[in-house]
Amino acid sequence: MKLLNYTTKYFAAILLFALLIFTVIFYFQMLDEIYDSLDDGLENQKILVINKAKKDPSILHKTSFEDGYYTIHPTSYSQIKEVKDSYRDTLMYMLNEKDYEPVRLLETAFRQDGKYYKLKVITSMVEEDDLIEDLFYSILWLYIGLVVGILLLNNWVLRRLWQPFYSVLTKLKNFNIEKEQGIDFENTNIEEFQLLNHQIKKLLQKSIDSYKAQKQFIENASHELQTPLAISLNKLELLAEKEELSPKNIELLASVLENLERMTRLNQALLLLSKIDNKQFVEEENLNITETIHQIVNDFLDFAKHRNIEISIVGKNLIQKHINKDLAIILFTNLIKNAIVHATLNSIVKISIEGEKINIENIAETGKLDEQQLFSRFYKVNTRKNSTGLGLAIAKAIAEKYDLKLTYAYQNKHIFTVSF
């Protein structure tokens, strides 16, 4: 959930709760006030009626409301000695509404000329259900209005307020340490964001520096290793030419040579990787990829034949790409070589060129490979003696350099796809 919606959600919940409490309190307070003023009015009318009765005793026999708002019944002292002013709600048939409606009624008693009378005064009253309904609707509209208002406000104000934050977020999302571009931060007046930007800048610079240093180290180390490796290899070759060596010693020498060569390959692969990373392959030409693949396959025919593997190329679609020729060759060599090396004996390695895609498929004993790990450096499925574990990492680095998509899929066989 987004930050903006998150705050809105909380606001909506809190508002609902607060408005509910407010409504209840407000309702009862209002009702209380209404009763209070009704009752005051009734009391005033009581006094008016009593005063009128003193002047005009004829009203003392008005026993039904009819067109008036009061009734007076003669009564005896014993019946009213307990009676005090009492207010209550009751129902009365209203002609205009054609229904019983609530009215407020004051019942009291008074004495005139030694006789006792019971007086009832009424006044029409608030219809509570109507009041509640009205109140409910106004509160509902208020609530909706507030929520919409908050939403708009959030979207407008908060978005503007958080804009520097979102801008940093987008930049971080697009940040790629391999591209060696820092991030330009927007200026902001908000202290927290200034601090955030500052800290991110510091962290990024640290990462970039250590990434560069690491890359530099690999390159320097591989570079420095070349010479001692060359010397050792050549010395051993010279030694191997000596006639006096026994077959046993030759065998030992062969093993040392083999391992040194393996180390050389590893070293060269690392050097190649850091060269690709450092963008040291500048030269580009419009290369016929289809033709290049045919050439590479041709180079590997003897090797494939030795493993009794058939290489079939399907599709003649012409694919052209502006690319460094050496890197293109290395990319497809690594993929094709991989397919041949890992293919089951006596199987077929199929290379299909369809549209802008090149699939390289081989059947192997190993099941699905770990897609996450597959293209990382030094990933090995089985500890093959001569594998550097860098072939696919190099292929991936080349593919990324030229924005090609190199993907892996498993459908009872391993399929590597390069999409142009």
Partner: protein
């Protein structure tokens, strides 16, 4: 044949020197460009092996100097950098070849021989070992004047082995030379063996006085019978 090696790494220098002396070349050495210039000024060499990454100096300057002086010695650039730019610039400045370190001695040998051949092209484009004769230009091998029918790979192998006659040729060096650099990471070089087997059979069928001898685990050697 006179060869000058310009290389600051003493051990590397000795390796190359030993290898080339086995081929009975006259080998001179220099460990920096100043002494190299002195030698170049005095003698004429058939081939110069030039390490272009000596500390503090740019080996390509030597090439420019050579070109300026009109010296057309065959130059092979040797470099641990394996940089395409250096290679292109070096070749542009008149170097004949570019050999990245580390390299196999057999490869160095073959490259030097190729330079010698190119420089002495007028006469000899044939190699004769016992009764085996190789026509380099037309890529044909003969035994006792009779053509030996070889496929491209077989010819390349035979030619490479004759360039390194009587020397042990590492099978990696052979594979890289014949099948290209990219073959190097394949699981094993056993697949070379089938080509060697065919070559051997053909040599034997024609009663060649040379044979390809396998040195267990390391490689092959062309020896006279």
């Amino acid at each position: 044949m006179k060869v000058l090696i310009i290389e600051d790494e003493e051990e590397m220098l000795q390796n190359m020197k030993q290898t080339l002396e086995k081929e009975c070349y006259l080998v001179e050495t220099a460990t920096d460009y100043d002494s190299a210039f002195l030698k170049i000024g005095v003698y004429e060499y058939d081939c110069i092996l030039l390490d272009i990454s000596l500390p503090g100096q740019n080996g390509l300057e030597i090439l420019k100097e050579l070109k300026k002086r009109g010296i057309s010695d065959g130059v092979i650039i040797v470099s641990a950098k394996n940089s395409l730019d250096d290679k292109l610039e070096g070749l542009h400045l008149g170097a004949d070849d570019y050999l990245p370190k580390p390299f196999h001695m057999a490869e160095l040998n073959a490259r030097i021989k190729a330079i010698f051949r190119r420089r002495n092209l007028k006469g000899n484009t044939f190699i004769q070992i016992e009764n085996l004769k190789i026509d380099i230009e037309n890529r044909i091998a003969f035994i006792e004047g009779e053509e030996l029918l070889l496929n491209r790979k077989e010819f390349d192998i035979l030619f490479y082995l004759t360039s390194n006659r009587n020397r042990l040729v590492n099978k990696t060096a052979l594979a890289e030379h014949v099948w290209g650099d990219h073959i190097d990471q394949t699981d094993s070089f056993d697949f070379i063996y089938s080509q060697i087997k065919n070559l051997r059979k053909k040599l034997k069928d024609h009663q060649a006085q040379v044979e390809v001898k396998a040195i267990y685990g390391i490689g092959y050697k062309l020896v006279s019978l």
